[in-house]
Structure formats: structure tokens, C-alpha cells
């Protein structure tokens, strides 16, 4: 790249950030995220978000709920790309009260965010092992982690994944198990975003526990009562806007215990039926 080009790029970046009001965090600093802050923007009709600011601390699981088309995935996308008022929602995302700059937003090696999206399938025409090795490389990790990912994925799905399989032939459950294991091992980032894990065809609680790890900030889009109640707070979305934040309370946690029991019972029944046995 020529001198002129890199110079104009840094000018472009300077322009981006001179317009912003928050202090900046840059890639030279060693980032250890303790808080993630979402500053409100606007809904689909350009009305301001009722929730003007929400701060999420390390170790917290926070839910995002709302009907289809209410803007849940958009909010997740805002967080994923560290929006700086430059996305259609106009929201801003801060880390430790500072704006993440430059490479932190785009370079996977610096990335603070791991994301499990709604996609159920891989489109890449590569073998499982080749793909995982290349993903490790893109994140600046040891390619040998591929084996660890596959082993972990196989604890989440009933149909074992083989390293030599082509990605495109994997079932929905195998793909999701692999995506979850990949996030836990290769994209091991301090902030984890999860979009609708309940449709994954895998063991959802185990998956969430794996993804949440130790001391991470976890944001999960879910309507599953158990997963939603595992979150300490949940952001309610409507018409593209953040309308309110609900903190879970003792009553809800009592319900959670019941839900957990029912879920355990259903899981056992499902397994009985899967094994071709008769439900007693």
C-alpha cells in the first residue's frame, strides 16, 4: 500500500472519530472489558429509544426479548460492530465507558465479540478441519485447536462430527454444535452474543453454559423461558426500539425452578423417544 493511501485512510478514521462525543479506546491499550454500555438511538419511526442507556457488567447474562421484527437482531448487530452512531439505529456501544476504535471494530485478531447467529448451516465448501484451522489462523490462534473444537462439538450433538466431513453436508444440529464449540475455543472473546439458541437442535443449557464461560458479558436473544430467566435483566424491544429493561425478581426465580424441573422432565422424555423406547 502506498504512503498516500495509508495516509488518506488515517485521515478517514480521524474524521470518523472527531465527530463523536465519547472518549476513545484504541487498539494499543490492553483491553479487559469490565462493562459494555448501550447508548440509545432511535426506533423504526425515528423515535428515540425509551431506554437511553444500559450498562452490562462482566459475568452478567442479559436477555433481549420482543416479537418478530421488533429489532432484536438489529440490536445484536449494533453490539457486534460496536456502532458509533453510524448504523441505521444511531446507537452507540461503549467498552469501559470508552468508544472502541479502528481495528478493535474490524480485525478478528483484536475482536472483543464472539457471535452465535441464527444461521443453521455453513456455506463454505471446505472440510471441517480445514475450515477450523483457517478460522484459528484468522483469530491469531494455534490451528491445532481445531481438534479441541471438534471434540467439544461432539459433546453437544448426538450425531458425531468427523474432521474430514465437508461443512456443507453437516446437519443443522451438527453445524450449530460446531459453531458453539468454535466460539468457546477459537473465538474466545470477552463479549458473547447469542441469537436464538433454542432452535439449535442441541443441548441448549449446556451450550449457554459453555458460551458464557467465566466472567464474560453474555447477551442472548431468546424467548425460551428457561434461558430468558437465566438472564439477570432483559431488554424489551418493540418496533425497532428498546422500550424497557426488566430485572428478574424472586417470584420469577421461583418460576425458574419449576421451568427447570419441567425442562429436565421433557428432555428425559425426548431422549426416551429418540432411543425408541416406550414412555412410562
Amino acid at each position: 500500500m502506498s504512503q498516500a493511501i495509508s495516509q488518506s485512510m488515517s485521515e478517514a478514521m480521524g474524521q470518523t472519530f472527531s465527530q463523536t462525543i465519547n472518549p476513545m479506546i484504541n487498539m494499543e491499550q490492553n483491553i479487559n472489558p469490565l462493562t459494555l454500555t448501550i447508548q440509545g438511538g432511535v426506533d423504526k419511526d425515528s423515535h428515540p429509544d425509551a431506554v437511553t442507556e444500559i450498562e452490562i457488567a462482566r459475568g452478567e447474562i442479559i436477555g433481549i426479548v420482543g416479537p418478530t421484527g421488533s429489532g432484536k437482531s438489529t440490536l445484536i448487530a449494533d453490539i457486534e460492530q460496536f456502532a458509533l452512531g453510524d448504523t441505521p439505529s444511531g446507537r452507540r456501544i461503549l467498552i469501559n465507558s470508552l468508544e472502541p476504535a479502528g481495528e478493535l471494530r474490524s480485525n478478528p485478531r483484536k475482536k472483543l465479540v464472539a457471535q452465535l447467529s441464527q444461521n443453521m448451516h455453513f456455506l463454505a465448501d471446505m472440510s471441517v478441519e480445514e475450515f477450523l484451522r483457517m478460522h484459528a489462523k484468522s483469530r491469531g490462534k494455534d490451528p491445532r485447536l481445531a481438534d479441541k473444537v471438534i471434540a467439544l462439538a461432539n459433546t453437544l450433538t448426538g450425531e458425531p462430527v468427523n474432521p474430514a466431513f465437508q461443512l456443507t453436508i453437516l446437519s443443522g444440529g451438527q453445524s450449530r454444535a460446531l459453531m458453539v464449540a468454535d466460539i468457546a475455543v477459537i473465538s474466545d472473546s470477552p463479549i458473547v452474543l447469542i441469537d436464538e439458541i433454542e432452535n439449535a437442535g442441541i443441548k441448549k443449557q449446556e451450550a449457554l453454559r459453555l458460551l458464557a464461560g467465566e466472567g464474560k458479558i453474555v447477551v442472548v436473544v431468546t424467548h425460551d423461558p428457561m434461558l430468558a430467566l437465566m438472564a439477570s435483566r432483559r431488554i424489551v424491544m418493540k418496533n425497532g426500539g428498546m422500550t424497557k429493561v426488566i430485572s428478574t425478581n424472586e417470584d420469577e426465580q421461583r418460576v425458574f425452578k419449576d421451568v427447570e424441573r419441567v425442562d429436565g422432565w421433557l428432555t428425559a422424555l425426548r431422549e426416551t423417544i429418540r432411543q425408541g423406547e416406550v414412555v412410562a
Binding site: 500500500m1 448487530a77 453510524d86 456455506l123 463454505a124 475450515f131 478460522h135
Partner: protein
């Protein structure tokens, strides 16, 4: 006057990405003018006209669309000046990948669709390898891991390139792209191409329909890679 050339395969999202970037450029007080190059037919100009910016269409018809664009860059620039624009945005037809219609002083952008799989950046050739920026589209259709592998592959093909993840539907990434366009230096003096176009003078170029080798003259390449000039 600034000049931006947006290239990329058909259906990769060039027009949608450009539509969002134009909106951002207008918001920041810029005056872009747009030229859409296509082969036989296009209705993209109708989409661009809704943005209330000057739009022109060039149909290459019997000429290679990239050669056609290169041949007409000067005329496009004159037209843009007459429209009192401060920026010429040229969207190419996006076809054979072998041509890279990028003048050296223009901002060269290659739009590339993530769903085409991680081997596609290696196939694209000079269209990607000589670009200043690559715009990855349709990233919402694949997992984060796939986007990151794709990104790695782009950097293998063009290590110095700036990568922008954009979504033609939601407009994600367009503000960043518009800023890059606005910050690019003005064009000046004589411009040259970054990469030579392919040799394309043969009897097929002049309309020969018969297939067997005996009917063809020109600079021709055999399946085994042997290249020769046949003719007088």
C-alpha cells in the same frame, strides 16, 4: 473531483451498497454523480434516480463492458463536471473478473459476496488484488466464523486491502464506506490502469460463430496453456 470505481460480480450487491453510501455522502454535503455501466440492459439507474443525484447509464452492447468503461472514463468525468458534482461514482457491469477497470488515482472498490464461499477471493484475480478496499456483502447469511475465514482469504489475495463489512439491505457499513470515498485524494493529471486488461483480439471478437480451431486467428491460448499468434 474524486473518482470511485465500484466493481464486483453480478448480484454481489454493488448497487445496494452504493445506494446506501450515496445517501451518506449526500448527508455529509457531498455532490456525487453516478454512472452505471452494464452490458445489454439495466434498470439500476431508476433506483439511483430516486436518490435525486445525477445518473447516467452506459450500455457496452458489443464491446467488453470493462473495456467500454475504461475507454469512456474521460467522458464520464466531463459529464460529472457538467453536473456540478464533486465525485464520480462508477459502477461497473462486473463480469469476467480478468479485467480490473481501476485507474491508479481513483478509489478502487471490489464488492464481494460472502456466500460464494471462502475460495472465491482467490478466484477473483486483479479485480480484488488491485483494489484499495474490499466490501464483504451478505455477511448476515453466514456465521461469524465464516465471515472471519472469508476476511482472511481476502487478505491472502490482497494483503494491503482495507475490508469493509456491508449489508445492502440494512445499510450496515455504508457510513464507513462513504467516509473512505470522501477522504480519498482528488484525481489529477494523466491516469493509467493498475493492471493490464487481457489480450482479446481474435476472430471471435469480430463476430466469427464457427467453433473449430481452423476458423480462428489472433492471440489464442490452448487448453494445455500454450499461447500462440495465428494469422498473417
Amino acid at each position: 473531483m474524486k473518482m470511485v470505481v465500484v466493481a464486483g460480480t453480478p448480484g454481489s450487491g454493488k448497487t445496494s451498497v452504493l445506494m446506501h453510501a450515496v445517501k451518506d455522502l449526500l448527508r455529509s454535503g457531498r455532490s456525487p454523480a453516478l454512472v452505471k455501466i452494464d452490458c445489454m440492459w439495466t434498470e439500476d439507474d431508476a433506483r439511483f434516480k430516486r436518490l435525486k443525484v445525477p445518473v447516467a447509464v452506459g450500455l457496452a452492447k458489443d464491446m467488453c463492458p470493462d473495456h467500454y468503461a475504461i475507454y469512456n472514463f474521460e467522458e464520464m468525468l466531463h459529464w460529472a463536471v457538467a453536473q456540478q458534482a464533486d465525485m464520480l461514482l462508477n459502477e461497473t457491469a462486473g463480469l469476467c473478473l480478468r479485467c480490473a477497470p481501476y485507474p491508479d488515482k481513483a478509489l478502487a472498490i471490489c464488492v464481494i459476496d460472502v456466500t460464494t464461499g471462502p475460495n472465491s477471493p482467490l478466484k477473483v484475480g486483479p479485480l480484488l488484488t488491485t483494489a484499495d478496499a474490499a466490501v464483504m456483502t451478505k455477511g448476515d447469511l453466514v456465521s461469524q466464523a465464516e465471515r472471519e475465514v472469508f476476511r482472511e482469504r481476502i487478505l491472502e489475495a490482497n494483503p494491503g486491502c482495507r475490508i469493509n463489512e456491508a449489508n445492502g439491505l440494512s445499510g450496515k457499513g455504508s457510513a464507513e464506506l462513504a467516509q473512505l470515498m470522501a477522504s480519498w485524494p482528488d484525481i489529477s493529471g494523466e491516469m493509467v490502469l493498475r493492471h493490464n486488461p487481457p489480450l482479446a483480439i481474435c476472430t471471435l471478437c469480430t463476430g466469427e460463430l464457427r467453433i473449430s480451431k481452423e476458423h480462428h486467428r489472433g492471440v489464442l491460448r490452448h487448453l494445455d496453456g500454450f499461447m500462440e499468434y495465428t494469422g498473417e
